[in-house]
């Protein structure tokens, strides 16, 4: 299990290769990457704030839950904070499992929990001003399917 919270960019290809290279007997590796999306009116910066200490603990707990539930061989979570620009990579998860169904499901599970249970807050800065991104009811509802 590898959990990283950082302001620095990460290299998706490098991380995916490293993750794949350290697995044994895993038939499936799934990666998901979150990207800063532009908004109507033009996004200048997305500021991501987090709660140092709790963030790492929450991500580790979510990763442990996913590992137990889907019998994963390994999990990687990288999540950035600080100022980001449109098309920057925000975060990635990678899951390794013997078969693809559990690798896909685990990545989906990780993303649902990361959205609503990891202490990150996004603020969008446009030429019209700055607005905190509000949590969607759908994100909270998504947890009920697990």
């Amino acid at each position: 299990m590898d959990i990283r919270v950082q302001s620095a960019p990460f290299d998706l290809g490098h991380e995916a290769n490293q993750f794949a290279a350290r697995q044994t007997s895993m038939g499936a590796i799934v990666t998901f990457t979150g990207v800063v999306r532009d908004v109507a009116g033009g996004l200048d910066t997305m500021m991501i704030e987090h709660y140092p200490g709790m963030t790492e603990a929450a991500l580790s707990q979510i990763a442990r839950d996913a590992t137990d539930r889907f019998a994963l061989g390994d999990v990687l979570i990288i999540h950035r904070h600080g100022p980001l620009k449109p098309d920057d990579l925000i975060m990635m998860v990678a899951t390794a499992a013997p078969h693809r169904a559990s690798a896909f499901a685990a990545a989906d599970f990780l993303m649902d929990y990361l959205k609503s249970r990891a202490p990150f807050w996004k603020k969008e800065l446009t030429q019209d001003g700055a607005d905190w991104v509000t949590a969607k009811d759908a994100d909270e509802d998504a947890l009920k399917r697990w």
Partner: protein
């Protein structure tokens, strides 16, 4: 006890953290004490349904006890991922 604020809660209160002495036994009692401090606290805590709380870095509810708590954090619903 350290009381931490994040995102718009931090902005509305105008600071990231307070160090306070309190006899509050639950999160809600602490909220009442904070509300009584100043208008900006009252504004930040006007609608607690819009807030989430963590005690010692674990998400919890507003009726949670504060016994031996070292750190309480208030923030809006999270938007990770």
């Amino acid at each position: 006890m350290d009381v931490l604020y994040f995102a718009w809660v931090r902005e509305r209160i105008g600071r990231p953290k307070d160090q306070i002495q309190t006899n509050a036994t639950t999160v809600m009692e602490l909220v009442e004490e904070l509300r009584a401090r100043e208008v900006r606290y009252e504004a930040a805590f006007a609608d607690i349904s819009a807030l989430r709380v963590a005690v010692d870095q674990e998400l919890t509810e507003f009726d949670a006890p504060l016994k031996d708590a070292r750190e309480v954090a208030f923030f809006p619903p999270m938007t990770g991922g």
